[in-house]
């Protein structure tokens, strides 16, 4: 259970300690990639809780979503259309949905456990 959290802390401290900065031109791409990664992550957690988790779907989804989002943003920059908004919108909506589903599942589990204790 604590292993993923450890991974997150390790990643953040690694990033902060190395003090890497990317050129501000690519800032958009990174932010959208972070969003895509978060979306995949919560999707994975939801799938795990719903017992439909698949390794291949999760790992491929992670990288594919990031690449797609960054590619969309890149295309948008070159076409003069803010296509990255589409990615932000899609990922944002899915993020909320996934979190909502996770919350419901956890609530259900919690109330079930409570029911069994008492």
């Amino acid at each position: 259970m604590w292993l993923p959290l450890l991974g997150l802390i390790l990643g953040i401290s690694l990033g902060l300690l190395t003090d890497i900065q990317i050129p501000s031109v690519y800032e958009n791409y990174l932010s959208i990639a972070v969003l895509a990664a978060l979306d995949t992550l919560f999707g994975g957690i939801r799938a795990q809780l719903q017992n439909v988790y698949d390794d291949r779907v999760f790992v491929s989804g992670f990288f594919f979503n990031i690449a797609l989002a960054a590619g969309l943003a890149f295309l948008g920059v070159h076409l003069g259309v803010d296509l990255y908004l589409a990615a932000i919108f899609a990922f944002g909506v899915r993020l909320f949905q996934n979190i909502a589903v996770i919350r419901r599942i956890l609530l259900t589990k919690w109330s079930e456990r409570k029911g069994t204790i008492y």
């Binding site: 292993l3 993923p4 990643g11 990174l30 990664a37 992550l41």
Partner: protein, 239 residues
């Protein structure tokens, strides 16, 4: 099976954390904000403009020299070289310079004499202060009591006596000659010295500084000692 899932989540979270941290770094990077007001910026602009015009005039000088060399190349390269050499000698202070300038006379003050105070030599500090004032207003060629000031002239106290170029400066009265490039410069220098507080500093030391009127023809003597050169070397041919 579950262990594998955790490992994958850990790796993915590591990547996510890293990306977030990098994003954070990028967004939070301390931007050096320009907090100057319009006058600060104007000031800098004017400094830059001055530098620009100085550079332009330098370029013009160098171009002139090149043209001169090119013109004289077929006739007599030696003459061009000699001219450059003369110029450099003049800049270094090895020649007498005749041109516009003004003369300063440093005397014991009447008050000091009336009170019977002993006339002491001028202090090196005061002399350096005066030179700085003169340099600020384009006094190019300066001699103190007949001793020409060059780039390496020491002004210091040796055994209680003020020296310039290691030669003792007379107890006041003595004269200082200042040569300038143009008579406008001489005029400016005169006005500046008149309005500056340097004369007050002399008065504290019981001396008076008399600033002579700008003259059109004034001869500043040459530096007559060998210039010691410890660090510069001739480059070998071909360099």
């Amino acid at each position: 099976m579950r262990q594998g899932v955790y490992v994958r989540f850990t790796i993915i979270l590591l990547i996510v954390g890293f990306m977030i941290a990098v994003q954070y770094n990028t967004v939070q990077k301390p931007e050096s904000r320009d907090t100057r007001d319009i006058w600060g910026i104007r000031q800098e602009l004017s400094t830059e403009k001055q530098l620009h015009s100085e550079l332009l005039s330098d370029i013009r000088d160098v171009n002139d020299t090149i043209t001169k060399y090119e013109n004289l190349q077929s006739e007599s390269p030696a003459q061009a070289l000699n001219e450059t050499l003369d110029n450099l000698r003049k800049k270094a202070g090895l020649t007498d310079v005749t041109g516009p300038g003004l003369e300063l006379v440093i005397e014991p003050s009447l008050e000091g004499m009336a009170l019977g105070q002993q006339v002491t030599a001028i202090s090196p500090d005061l002399l350096v202060r005066l030179l700085n004032e003169i340099n600020r207003f384009n006094g190019r060629y300066i001699s103190i009591d007949g001793k020409r000031i060059i780039h390496s002239s020491p002004i210091r106290d040796i055994n209680g006596q003020t020296t310039v170029n290691s030669l003792i400066v007379n107890t006041p009265p003595f004269k200082m000659k200042i040569g300038t490039d143009t008579s406008e410069d001489a005029e400016k220098l005169y006005n500046h010295l008149k309005s500056s507080t340097i004369a007050d500093d002399f008065f504290i030391d019981n001396l008076t500084l008399t600033i002579g009127n700008p003259e059109n023809s004034l001869t500043v003597p040459a530096f007559d000692q060998p210039i010691e050169n410890n660090f510069l070397k001739n480059t070998s041919k071909g360099d």
